[in-house]
């Protein structure tokens, strides 16, 4: 659970606690398909990925965005999160271990809000980029 977080407590270059997820297994993709409603056979049928030329089964991009969301909401309380966007850079394959990192890149007060912005990344065990993203949060101030 994210601890209460005040604007005074966080600074540019502060790192998000690292989150390691996986290895990603077929069964997790099946569960995620059922939960999210995304039954694209690329994610659940081992043969289809080979057939369409992406070299086999890949994880849902949204599952990996979910890993990043877990890391983010474990650091910054969900209620303060205002924006969260990602680019899906690389494909996540079976048995890969996903490491999520992030940091604060900007901190300012603007139109009555205490705004922090930052970047987030997900990489596989070969350090290849899976996701590059950004977030914005509005934090309370210590009185």
């Amino acid at each position: 659970m994210a601890k209460e977080l005040y604007f005074q407590d966080i600074n540019v270059k502060d790192q998000m606690p690292v989150l390691v997820k996986g290895p990603v297994k077929h069964m997790q993709l099946v569960r995620y398909a059922g939960a999210s409603g995304d039954f694209n056979p690329l994610h659940v049928d081992p043969e289809v990925g080979k057939a369409v030329g992406i070299g086999g089964q890949i994880a849902h991009g949204m599952l990996v965005m979910g890993f990043v969301g877990q890391a983010l909401a474990g650091w910054i309380p969900k209620k303060y999160l205002r924006k969260f966007s990602v680019r899906f850079v690389g494909m996540t394959r079976l048995n890969e271990v996903v490491t999520v990192t992030g940091k604060v890149t900007d901190k300012k007060q603007e139109s009555g809000n205490n705004i922090i912005r930052g970047e987030v990344f997900a990489r596989d065990q070969k350090e290849e980029l899976l996701i590059a993203g950004s977030f914005e949060a509005h934090l309370p101030e210590k009185k």
Binding site: Y32, G53, M62, M65, G66, A73, K78, S85, F88
Partner: protein, 148 residues
């Protein structure tokens, strides 16, 4: 080949009732053990009215209302060649169990781009979600890539 005549087109709104069980299922499939997403008491203690929707929850109404599939076919996109390029959310209010969401999807743009393995169509979709009180709760921006 994505249908260029659909640029700026707004699809008919769809509705989705937010179910507690479905919220939990998504969190468990991702494997997050954060109590605010699993335990109502813990969420209330942290200042929420109930369990709040997980940051990526908006993918659930989109898929389970079969909206995405029908839009992809309306846009004449070959589903077998679809990749997800980008996803972005703006959180305007918490989404809670029992909320009834209405989603309105607009085609923002369709562009062609040369990629490493041939050309691709890039389709930008914007979805605005309101709740049963007609309050805007979330804006989603998706980039869908069709390989050709």
């Amino acid at each position: 080949m994505a249908d260029r005549s659909k640029i700026n087109h707004e699809f008919p709104p769809f509705t989705y009732e937010v179910e507690r069980g479905k919220m939990r299922e998504l969190v468990q499939a991702i494997g997050d053990d954060n109590p605010i997403f699993l335990d109502k008491e813990a969420a209330i203690k942290e200042g929420y009215k109930d369990i709040p929707a997980f940051p990526t929850f908006a993918t659930v109404p989109m898929n389970w209302s079969n909206t995405l599939l029908s839009i992809i076919s309306d846009l004449k996109i070959n589903f077998a060649m679809v990749l997800h390029g980008e996803e972005g959310y703006e959180y305007l209010q918490e989404i809670y169990p029992g909320d009834v969401l209405t989603g309105k999807i607009r085609v923002v743009s369709i562009d062609e781009k040369a990629g490493k393995s041939g050309s691709m169509d890039l389709v930008k979709l914007e979805t605005m979600y309101t709740n049963q009180r007609n309050e805007p709760v979330l804006k989603a921006n998706a980039l869908i890539v069709e390989r050709k």
